[in-house]
């Protein structure tokens, strides 16, 4: 069945299914954590770092390669900054006093 199917069809399948997964997972996020959600998704969107690395990793570093290096540096700000600031925020969400027997 898969023979002769253009790979783009598979990518489209993945895309649509991922949107559904995203839809269901995000609606479960508690509204209290919507700001950390934004900084976390922002960090995750810096996954295009992978594309930037490929651009920066060509054998001969022509101007396009250097543009890739610049993109790597820009996105790394997001990657590191995004996860760290999310961690910092989440560290602030504390319970009053953990009662014994309370499940996490």
């Amino acid at each position: 069945m898969t023979a002769g199917v253009d790979p783009i069809v598979f990518y489209l399948t993945i895309f649509v299914l991922a949107i559904f997964v995203g839809y269901h997972v995000i609606w479960n996020v508690t509204p209290a954590l919507h700001t950390p959600l934004m900084s976390l998704t922002n960090a995750i969107s810096s996954i295009i770092l992978v594309g930037a690395m490929l651009a920066a990793g060509s054998e001969t570093l022509d101007w396009g390669g250097w543009l890739g290096v610049l993109a790597v540096a820009l996105v790394s700000i997001n990657t590191f900054g995004g996860f760290l600031v999310t961690q910092r925020m989440l560290g602030m969400f504390k319970k009053k006093e953990p009662k014994p027997g309370d499940k996490e």
């Binding site: 990518y11 959600l37 992978v50 930037a52 996105v75």
Partner: protein, 468 residues
């Protein structure tokens, strides 16, 4: 590493991202969620680095770039104030958008380095085009949003939090959008000399991003920032399509749908349709207040208010952004602690748009060490107001306006915190000025309402002293 191995590692990374978002469903699991995100990212970066090393060995510039960016990112993450989170997030969206454009340019310049054919096949061109224009719009739109949120309007009019509108704006945007797509098609068709249409298309997309965001007013910023969050995800997904990378597609779609859902929630909370937010022109103007009749308000001193608070059984605090502007969160927490010691039950009621971005007020309260199990969302606490002795409203206005329940009012249908149902209402405001919606608030004139005028921080500190 074989292509199959690489793809499997990428699958692990994609699953980690899903688990990361799943972790945010409750505060106790949230930190674990963030670790999943970090792990996914680390895996993705490590295997990509290994792949590049096995091909060309030129990993030094990459690592150098990552170190530079990482140091800047870590520094910013440490230093940023929680009130500045909206600006930070907007700035970060702009970086993702710009990087997407750079990657696309690099791909057109040297397709083989990105694992594409030379010349680039038609379908990949179309995908590159989509990734580029979404990235460019994300970049320039986020720059404007950043400027508006950071209050740079004083220095540069384009950043004004009041909407920047001119005649024929929407037609101009439409024309630019059509032209942009036209050049995209030209890029798609071009056999040779594909640069000119590509460059023109990218330039138009940058311009369009600016023009789309300048007419949107300060009050609508929570929607805009969620929308740009969504765009940055779609840009990543677009780049994923062009590079044949399913992991980028998955991660991008997750972010894209997250931003879209947040935009929807924000629109609903402000009783605005998404289209009217995008078309802009709201949030800066003050609508004419129709009523001119003089109504009397009862105002009292912090001492009077403190007396009411100390003698209550239940107090619900309704914080608004005015509280954060006055940096009074810590004083509020102190007041709550004092009241709790006196046997008063204290809860917080948060409206979805209480801050300048989704969930902003929750973070500001958490920073002041307010335990999150005292903080309730609007839907969860509204039913408790009739039993509450005192509703203490600090720096909030439109979100407690009972006019929202009255047909024909401009904010009819907007979900509100039903503070007017409490037995006594205490309102702290700096003046009687109207809120973003520009309409009067009948809550302030009710018999059971007492106004305490003054800066939120000063008033709350006085309350703390008076409660002792």
């Amino acid at each position: 590493m074989s292509a199959d191995q690489l793809a499997l590692w990428y699958l692990v990374a994609a699953v980690s991202f899903i688990l990361a978002l799943k972790g945010l469903s409750s505060p106790p699991t949230a930190r674990r969620g963030n670790y999943f995100g970090v792990a996914g990212m680390a895996i993705a970066v490590a295997v990509t680095l290994a792949l590049i090393y096995s091909h060309s060995k030129s990993v030094l510039p990459i690592v150098g770039g990552m170190v530079v960016g990482g140091v800047i990112g870590a520094f910013v993450a440490r230093r940023v104030q929680m009130t500045q989170m909206p600006e930070l997030v907007a700035a970060m969206h702009s970086l993702v958008g710009l990087a997407a454009v750079f990657i696309a340019i690099a791909a057109v310049n040297n397709p083989e380095a990105m694992g594409l054919h030379t010349p680039i096949t038609g379908l990949h061109k179309a995908e590159l085009f989509i990734g580029t224009f979404i990235g460019a719009i994300t970049f320039s739109g986020s720059v404007i949003a950043f400027g508006k949120l950071a209050g740079l309007g004083k220095h540069f009019r384009l950043f004004s939090s009041a909407p920047v509108v001119f005649k024929g704006q929407h037609w101009l945007n439409l024309a630019l959008g059509i032209a942009m797509i036209g050049f995209g098609v030209a890029f798609f068709m071009a056999e040779q000399s594909e640069w000119p249409p590509f460059i023109i298309m990218t330039a138009l997309a940058f311009l369009l991003g600016f023009l789309l965001i300048i007419p949107i007013g300060g009050a609508d910023m929570p929607v805009v920032i969620s929308m740009l969050n969504s765009y940055s995800g779609w840009a990543a997904a677009g780049i994923g399509f062009s590079l044949d990378n399913p992991m980028l597609i998955v991660a991008g779609s997750l972010v894209g749908s997250s931003g879209a859902i947040l935009s929807y929630i924000m629109c609903k909370a402000m009783n605005r349709s998404f289209v009217s937010v995008i078309l802009g022109g709201f949030g800066g103007e003050t609508a004419a207040v129709a009523e001119t009749e003089q109504k009397t308000v009862r105002s009292g001193s912090p001492d009077d208010a403190a007396f009411l608070l100390s003698n209550a059984d239940t107090v619900i605090i309704v914080p608004g952004y005015g509280l954060a502007v006055a940096r009074a969160q810590h004083a509020v927490k102190e007041l709550a602690t004092k009241l709790t010691q006196k046997g008063v039950t204290v809860k917080y009621a948060i409206h979805p748009v209480a801050g300048r971005m989704p969930g902003h007020m929750n973070v500001l309260l958490a920073e002041a060490e307010v335990p999150y199990d005292q903080v309730f969302e609007m839907e969860d606490i509204n039913s408790e107001f009739p039993q509450a002795d005192v509703a203490l409203i600090l720096g909030a206005n439109d979100v407690v306006n009972p006019l929202a329940e009255q047909k024909g009012s401009p904010i009819y249908g907007m979900p509100i915190i039903e503070a007017h149902k409490a037995r006594t209402v205490l309102v702290n405001k700096r003046s009687m000025a109207s809120g973003y919606a520009g309409i009067d608030n009948p809550l302030f004139y009710m018999d059971k309402t007492m106004m305490v005028f003054g800066d939120a921080k000063k008033v709350v500190e006085d309350l703390v002293k008076a409660v002792e």
